[in-house]
Amino acid sequence: MTSASIAQQNWLDLTGYQLWDLVGIDGLQVTTSLVGDLAGRIAPFQSFETTLDQQACSVLRLCEGNFRFGLQGDSTFFEQVNLADQRVWLRRCKQMTAIAMPEAEGLALLPKIAVAKLPHRLEGLQPNCAAPSRIDGISVLIWRHLYQGQAVFELQMAAKDAATIRAIC
């Protein structure tokens, strides 16, 4: 699929949206202490919505002990988390950028232009699920979840690729 054949999307404004990663052997336990037991009930590449410090937050599990937080607004909560004696690291993802499109447009467009890494599937990708994928050979993590109450497809990619992906989509 070439960029010329694809309609331009109505990108959502993600100003103030931040991605944070929490990674390590104790990642599940620390995440559970932050957001509750639901963290242990989802599989890698699944997510749920919660609040952190009274802010909306999406929590995406990436493996047994690795979690990604999509947070709108103030990040001081994360900066103050006490990780003493925990074998994890927690820091803001600066190498990545996120863009998002409304769910209906993503459902129509993404299966046509993106290739998910098996056994993930873009066809029928359920809410609160993500799939590592490629668009024109560029690595993009496609995540279907809620952003500020709106159902979206969030695309996370290396910051250097964001303009290319925007142009393609």
Partner: protein, 720 residues
């Protein structure tokens, strides 16, 4: 003339050619299996000898004939009288079998002249013969299939592939190993092969040999020179010759995929080599991921065991991209039976609509987890609600006849004489030195009929051989192809099943709620005939449903639909593995093998040592006194998960006292747990030990000895 032995499975047809004047034979090894003989043009056949009904020695056959074979090892030998090759088809009939019946059809054994090549898998676009000790180059298009056949067996074949306009992309071993998650070369094939640009070159669709090496060099002049054979032809030089006309720059050694080579590296990385495992007609089937220039060789190595000191021909067939061959691995269950490709179960078509994450397990494709659910959700569905689990890879054997009980009293560790009709027992098959051949469940179907459900095709061979040695009047027949089984497990499983299940009269229970633990009954679920057994492998309340494969999809649909309000979910092997470790349940190759006794594996309670003729009894009596190790459960400090094979040490000691057999993180206990086998002196509950991570010295994690089942050790949930 060489001969081949073909198994004709019930319900299937095997077709082969007989040269004029040549003989072939059909034998019914187990008796009672009727079959039909059909002739192609060019008959007739002469009946040389026959112990089967409807055939008379000395007569000639010109028409199809149906043959009844009543006693074991009856059959017939025939000769082709045609001038040309005569096509013969043998059809083994397959009567229907209900879940409660116990006399399934059995395979026939056909011995026929060996044809040069196996039948094509489909329409052949092109084919090439690679004469011994030569190589060829050929082109294929993206999507086309390449079948590389070892014609006579024990012959190796190197493979190269190039892509790009000027063939600038070539196979890259390091890229392939890395992208497949395998750090070092090892026996076996990768599923997909990549170029140094990380682009897929081809994937392996089928492999009937199961033993290859990947990415050592194709043999070189240097190899032969160092071995004292200067001037010996090598695969690398053969490739240079074959590729020269395509403009590929020659090399002294080509990194290749080495099909059928029996090479391995030991723990220190030293390469060892032996005779190829491939047999006549073994093949690998590849699918090109892009347009490729390929090169294949028939390896000229005749100075070591690689090709059995005798290079022979390799044959290559090309099939169209739309041929649609399914992925499968070949599995041989006994020396004299042909290879059998990976199968799906009756439920696999439904499962494939829900996940692409299927893996080969014991000859079947099984789901590891389901798309949009994942192992965590499946695990919690099991613990809190209910799940469906395809366990059709289990092997089922009917053991019937006046001496059936006597045979099982010898072979099976439990006292089957104590079983009532409709009752089952978990135990193991034992060998003479007290090792576990397999674990499984014996069901008592009638006064003289039992069903053994285990893991291995060879269980039936063992029971049959034992019966023959002891001259027992007992039949042992595989019913694995007639009975596929679906487990519904979890605390709500009974609620899901209750409105659907009707039990036949004649068993101890009339209603599902009355069906006790390790009890079973025939009946229906959603009007589908099944055998319902209150057993499982998860540590939860649950049932196993044995059904004819023809009705498997209907049963799957009915249960998924009925269970939807209760939150029922399909479950894969990843979640099952976690659940079974929590429940302290054994897995073959982990907690037991044929060198490990029940006393070491943690199922001493499953040995009825008072039985007079139990196989291995003498050894077991000694092993019971002090098994070399005993099975325990461990709870580890911290969240790190141990691995199979990691060593266990006393606190602050250098020497070992045991080994981890299985490990996981228990979500419900929120602890890292393991199954382990330790010296009896360290098996006391509450003992402190250390699990060695990394090299066993760099990091040790403390662990506390507990019961084998970390979760619900009293089995209160399965008995609920």
């Amino acid at each position: 003339m060489s001969f081949q032995t073909l198994a004709v499975e019930p319900g299937s047809v095997r077709t082969f050619y007989i040269p004029a004047g040549e003989l072939f034979s059909v034998v019914d090894p187990e008796g009672g299996q009727s079959f039909a003989l059909e002739l192609g043009t060019g008959g007739p056949l002469e009946v040389i000898s026959s112990s089967a009904l409807a055939l008379v020695a000395g007569t000639q056959l010109t028409q199809p004939v149906c043959v009844d074979s009543q006693e074991p090892n009856t059959g017939c030998t025939l000769r082709a009288l045609a001038d040309a090759n005569l096509q013969v088809a043998v059809l083994a009939q397959k009567p229907a079998l209900t879940p409660g019946a116990f006399t399934p059809a059995t395979p026939l054994k056909v011995t026929a002249p060996l044809n040069d090549l196996p039948a094509p898998l489909g329409e052949v676009l092109a084919e090439y013969r690679i004469e011994p000790a030569t190589a060829i180059a050929y082109s294929v298009q993206a999507g086309q299939y390449i079948q590389i056949i070892d014609v006579e067996g024990s012959q190796c074949s190197d493979f190269l592939a190039f892509a790009g306009e000027h063939f600038e992309q070539e196979l890259d071993g390091t890229a392939t190993r890395t992208l497949n998650g395998i750090a070092v070369p090892q026996a076996g094939l990768h599923s997909k092969y990549f170029s140094q640009r990380l682009q897929p070159m081809f994937e392996v669709i089928q492999d009937t040999c199961g033993r290859h090496d990947s990415f050592l060099l194709a043999c070189t002049d240097r190899y032969y020179e160092d071995a004292g054979y200067p001037g010996h032809v090598s695969c690398s030089q053969n490739f240079n010759l074959a590729l020269a006309s395509h403009g590929v720059t020659p090399r002294p050694g080509w990194p290749a995929v080495n099909f059928f080579f029996n090479t391995a590296s030991d723990a220190q990385g030293t390469i060892a080599s032996g005779e190829s495992w491939s047999r006549p007609g073994d093949y690998v089937l590849l699918r090109a991921s892009q347009d490729l220039l390929c090169a294949s060789s028939s390896c000229p190595d005749d100075i070591d065991p690689a090709n059995g000191w005798q290079p022979t021909a390799i044959h290559v067939r090309i099939y169209a991209a739309d041929a649609g061959f399914e992925s499968a691995l070949g599995r041989r269950v006994s020396p004299d039976l042909p290879v059998r490709l990976t199968r799906g179960s009756a439920f696999t078509p439904r499962i494939r609509t829900l996940t692409d994450y299927l893996v080969e397990y014991n000859g079947f494709w099984v789901p590891n987890s389901f798309a949009n659910y994942g192992p965590q959700a499946e695990y919690w569905a099991l613990r809190e609600r209910a799940v469906l689990l395809d366990l059709s890879a289990l092997r089922k054997f009917e053991v019937f006849g006046p001496d059936a009980e006597q045979l099982l009293q010898m072979a099976f560790s439990r006292n089957v004489a104590a079983l009532a009709i409709g009752q089952s027992a978990y135990g193991c098959l034992l060998n003479p030195h007290g090792g576990i051949i397999d674990d499984g469940i014996v069901f008592r179907l009638s006064e003289t009929a039992y069903r053994y459900v285990g893991n291995c095709d060879t269980d039936g061979d063992w029971l049959r051989r034992l019966a023959q040695q002891q001259q027992l009047r007992v039949g042992v027949r595989s019913s694995s192809d007639y009975l596929h089984n679906l487990a519904i497990q979890g605390p709500l499983s009974r609620d899901v099943l209750r409105p659907l299940a009707k039990l036949d009269p004649g068993f101890a229970a009339n209603l599902l709620d009355e069906l006790g633990y390790f009890r079973f009954a025939t009946g229906t679920v959603a009007d589908i005939p099944v055998l319902i057994s209150r057993t499982g492998y998860t540590g939860e309340l649950g049932y196993e449903l044995f059904v004819h494969p023809g009705q498997g999809e209907a049963l799957w649909d009915a249960l998924l639909q009925a269970g939807e309000p209760e939150g029922l979910m399909p479950m894969g092997m990843l979640a099952l593995e976690r659940a079974r470790i929590e429940a302290g349940l054994l897995a073959a190759g982990r907690e037991f093998d044929d060198l490990i006794s029940p006393y070491q594996a943690g199922i001493s309670w499953a040995v009825a040592l008072k039985k007079p003729e139990l196989i291995g009894k003498a050894a077991l009596e000694k092993l019971k006194e002090r098994p070399p190790k005993v099975a325990v459960g461990l709870v580890l400090e911290g969240n790190e998960v141990a691995e199979h094979g990691q060593c266990i040490y006393p606190v602050e000691e250098r020497w070992r006292v045991g080994v981890i057999t299985s490990a996981t993180f228990s979500p419900i206990l929120n602890k890292s747990i393991a199954l382990a086998q330790v010296a009896p002196e360290y098996a006391t509950p509450g003992s402190q030990l250390e699990v060695g991570f990394v090299d066993g010295m760099k990091r040790r994690v403390k662990a506390t000895v507990g019961p084998l089942a970390a979760y619900d050790p009293t089995k209160s949930r399965v008995r609920a």
